[in-house]
């Protein structure tokens, strides 16, 4: 396992499925050592960059609009790994308009990407006001918890 590790959940627990990243953080909390920082983020790019710039490994969990990448399938997950050099930004992917895609582009310009950046994106169904996840997305949160543990080298 690498030294400086941060897991960032992007989202808002009061916008239903948008809170999926936060749900994954809560599931991870009892399962990861104290050395792994678990960070809640509203997706604002400068804050994302500040959270990950000093990290060896950053794992980000974010929601994407259903159908953003083809036929809509709420709960479907995507894993993307962004290397320090090369790779395409996720401009169209994040559900937070000013969010992840911008943060990655800006960080790349300023040499403030982490050594390794893994992004897990979940297609969401309902981001209206309210709390709680729809069933498909709640299921995805469980799958993602396992996937993030694998990224961290914890099985």
């Amino acid at each position: 396992m690498t030294d400086r590790v941060v897991v960032i959940g992007v989202g808002n627990e009061f916008r239903r499925d948008d809170g999926v990243g936060l749900r994954v953080l809560e599931s991870l909390r009892p399962l990861v050592p104290d050395t792994v920082r678990l960070v809640v983020s509203d997706g604002e790019p400068v804050r994302l960059i500040e959270e990950w710039s000093d990290s060896d490994l950053a794992v980000v969990i974010d929601a994407v609009r259903a159908g953003a990448l083809g036929t809509p399938a709420p709960g479907r997950t995507y894993r993307l790994e962004i290397e320090q050099v090369g790779g395409e930004p996720l401009a169209a992917v994040s559900s937070h308009g000013l969010g992840l895609g911008n943060a990655i582009s800006l960080a790349r310009t300023l040499d403030m990407l982490p050594n390794r950046l893994v992004v897990h994106a979940v297609e969401v169904a309902d981001c209206g006001y309210g709390t709680g996840l729809t069933p498909a997305v709640a299921g995805a949160a469980d799958t993602l918890t396992t996937a993030v543990l694998a990224d961290l080298g914890i099985s």
Partner: protein
């Protein structure tokens, strides 16, 4: 945004930019009086401290408790962090690219890396304030009704003061930088509203004043400001009751935010901020929304300067909070969020359960005035094609720093040319 043009005349401009926090008002009903600072902080990730502060004032007032001055100092210090953070974000990431001809901060950073890094450095200091006083920089967890869960020692604040002294230079440089931009010659005549805290630039507390001479306490806010549902939008438009009464529809719009605060309180700026404003060519008032970037930069200097002073004079409070016992009643709270005046009202029952809540954020107050300004702005640019007009309108709206989740490329312009 919807624009209807008939025979070359702008008939209607409708702006649907902001949903009021009605969900949160309903969500708060039936909850304990201790919960609003945490819950309402989730409404806005860029200004959680504003929500926490207005909520605390309102609940403390409902419970008949006055915050001791030594705890009020920390409330102001935490708020300074939020001003620096929010303003630096808007200046460097959203607004400056408009003036320098870049589509966004990423493109600007390619050519002006050191400038963007200065913006990030300002933000880091702001985050350090928020983390030291608020417990963390996103949705501070250390704030409670009656004060804080824990207050910092002098030793914990000392390194922050050192850092702020360096940051003051960056803040002054920021004013100098943005003052050199080209500003279109434009001026609005809306009434301006801000808090007023004699002797100090208003941040975390104050009574309400307007450029038209109104002056009232937080408790009288809803007598003076009425919110009206408009048919095309979820949003409510705020108007001044005193001006709207018996007058034509559309009158009574007013603006809150940096230009209002500055124009009504520039005489209370601390010395370095006052000097920066003067050097930037600002007068005692500023009614050009394009120049709001200069005013925001001056307010960053003000917040840094204030934070240094507050830390230098800091005496740790004996207790981190004062006990707030619930009682039946209604309380009102106001503070100056970075983008303008934020009003909260809570009605509590005897056991401290929330019976009703009302939140009036700055953007819903400004919406009517922004829309009014856009009408004139569009009328002068009817020869633009839709794409160019969208870009121009986005930039014009950005002057007001509206609270929207994605402020870079957000405008869905519908032109109805007849």
């Amino acid at each position: 945004m919807y624009v209807r043009v008939t025979d070359g005349q702008v008939e209607q401009v409708r702006l649907e930019i902001y949903e009021p926090p009605r969900f949160f008002e309903a969500f708060l009903r039936g909850r304990s009086y201790t919960e609003p600072p945490d819950i309402t902080a989730r409404i806005c990730g860029i200004c959680p401290v504003a929500y926490q502060t207005s909520a605390c004032w309102a609940i403390e007032s409902a419970c008949g408790v006055a915050l001791p001055p030594e705890l009020g100092v920390l409330r102001r210090l935490l708020y300074c962090g939020e001003w620096i953070s929010s303003h630096a974000l808007h200046i460097y990431m959203l607004h400056a690219p408009d003036f320098l001809g870049y589509p966004g901060a990423v493109e600007m950073a390619r050519d002006h890396r050191e400038i963007v890094e200065r913006g990030l450095a300002l933000r880091r200091t702001a985050n350090a304030i928020m983390a030291t006083i608020g417990g963390r920089s996103v949705h501070p967890v250390n704030v409670r009704v009656g004060g804080f869960y824990r207050v910092p020692t002098r030793a914990e604040l000392e390194p922050l003061a050192d850092r702020l002294r360096t940051t003051l230079d960056l803040a002054v440089e920021t004013v100098r930088w943005v003052a050199g931009f080209d500003f279109p010659d434009y001026s609005f005549d809306h009434e301006l509203m801000s808090l007023h805290d004699p002797g100090r630039y208003p941040i975390e507390r104050g009574s309400v004043v307007t450029s038209g001479g109104l002056e009232f306490a937080a408790a009288e806010f809803e007598q003076h400001v009425i919110e009206e549902q408009v048919p095309y939008s979820m949003a409510l438009h705020a108007r001044l009751a005193d001006r709207a009464a018996g007058a034509v529809l559309g009158s009574g719009f007013y603006l809150t935010g940096p230009l209002a605060r500055y124009s009504l309180n520039s005489r209370w700026l601390p010395p370095v901020a006052a000097e920066s404003a003067h050097a930037a060519g600002l007068g005692d008032t500023c009614r050009n929304p394009f120049q709001s970037i200069v005013v925001r930069a001056v307010e960053v200097v003000c917040a840094v300067e204030e934070a240094i002073r507050l830390i230098e004079e800091y005496v740790p409070p004996a207790e981190p909070y004062i006990a707030v016992e619930p009682r039946a009643g209604t309380g009102h709270g106001v503070s100056e969020a970075p983008r303008g005046l934020l009003y909260h009202r809570y009605e509590l029952d005897q056991a401290g359960m929330i019976v009703s809540a009302r939140i009036v954020p700055p953007t819903s107050q400004n919406q009517g005035a922004i829309q009014d300004d856009l009408r004139g702005f569009v009328a002068d640019r009817l020869d633009f094609d839709d794409e160019r007009l969208t870009l121009a309108c986005e930039q014009a709206i950005r002057n007001y720093d509206p609270c929207i989740s994605c402020a870079t490329h957000f405008l869905d312009l519908r032109m109805d040319r007849r």
